[in-house]
Amino acid sequence: MDGLDVERIRKDFPVLSRELPGGRPLIYLDSGNSSQKPVQVIEAMRDHLSMHYSNVGRAHHALGAESTEAYENARDKIAAFIGAPSRDEVIFTKNASEAINLVAYAFGNPLNTDERFRLGPGDEIVITEMEHHSNIVPWQFAAQRSGATLRWFGVTDEGRLDLSNLDELVNERTKVVAFAHQSNVLGTVNSISPILARARQVGALVLLDSSQAVPHKPVDVAELGVDFIAFTGHKMVGPSGIGVLWGKAELLDAMPPFLGGGEMIEAVWMDRSTFAPAPHKFEAGTPPIVEAIGLGVAVDYLTDVGMPAIKEWEHQLTGYALQALSEISGLRVIGPRSVVSRGGTVSFTLKTPGGFDIHPHDVGQILDDVFGIAVRVGHHCARPLHLRFGIPATTRASLYLYNTTDEIDALVRGLHHVQKVFG
């Protein structure tokens, strides 16, 4: 397979050459959960912490200037990476979950003065059955706080969004539609335009949970045309502790603040405050400084490799994996079985040749302990989706730029062994 130089890339990720206890090599197929970090990101963080660190914005001395410049440069990089029309539309949060909560708390907030964020009884919020809990629970809370109704798109047997009732589901009462750009279980890449078009017709806002999209393919928010996207640093070769909310400037201006504290204000009196413009309005307190800087370097790294090349590489790997897994009898892929509109996340259930269900925890345990293969097992923070398919859990292999077909072969061998143990 051609595309990117995977062997060179693997050398950038120290952990990939690690030996696990018992002499097992590491085969990391859990990047959908969290990705590994290249030495460039790790060393940039270390260098900043060692020699340039101080607080940002508020510190006017030499280190303060260096830290502030590095932090705000990271914002520029991320704005460029996602094609944001303005750097001020990029808000640093601690993760994607905070980003989504930030938007959800803007709805029906007594401090809100904008009609679009008004939410109360009779109003509706629309999500989907394939969402990560981080794009479900915040909306449940918003509905419970305000008395609004939460509704959702169903999922087809093939693992696609069921849009057959789009016009009924998204209607004049709908204030916001929030859905996954790419499913963290099925791998499904959702088509945005029909939902967006309908939302525009009825005047609803649209948030895209791009946590599983931004790491894996070129994303351009101007092209997408939605109102908000959320994503998270640790899934895109960046550090933990940093996430991003992108939102249209005009909406960010209209939204009430979320967390109160230092640096998000313009002026404070004991009884009232005025607020800084976005992005600072939404960044209360000392931000994850070194984490944002690390994410900036992660974005440089991904850009250097090339997002189109990463997308193509994962496309090839996914095709290979779907083919190889489909040859295991008793293995059932949950989600699209073809590579069309799908990313490199493959979830499945496994039976013994005798038809006995092998629980994903047992699959994962044996893959890990015998072969050093790291997959994720469970409901992957998408319990309703698993309920929809009538299964408590799946085993999930998720691929990224540093994975190889050899690793997929190892997974297949491992799964055969699991079947033997339980056979």
Binding site: H361, D362, H379, P392
Partner: protein, 143 residues
Amino acid sequence: MIAESMYQELILEHYKHPQGRGLREPYDAEVHHVNPTCGDEITLRVKVESGKVADVSYEGQGCSISQAAASVLHELAAGSTVVDSLAVVDEFTRLMQGRGTVQADEEVLGDAVAFAGVAKFPARVKCALLAWMAYKDAVVRSS
């Protein structure tokens, strides 16, 4: 092979052929326990008659460890006395939480000694304990 020591013949046997599975009447207490990190669930009922455990019935879903542990629990507790069965629960808990450094008392544990290997895997200890904690809870509630 590190993990294989965990998947003892006996555990797999219980997993594939669970003993006493199903929810039965009559019962004094029913509890529902969940392991939120992995989604394993168990509904468990106990029937106590003058200090003896007349029945332990259960229904659940989960991995081999959690299901086998429920099956072994049924075997050990049903027909035993409440006092004796709780002693087994305590010894089993001690073994599981010992991070692989605790020597199991085979006298007390019987078949449950097969789970000794699980203690080395913190993430799986909760699986092994799910049914047993549910049992303890149910016994408390039944009195």
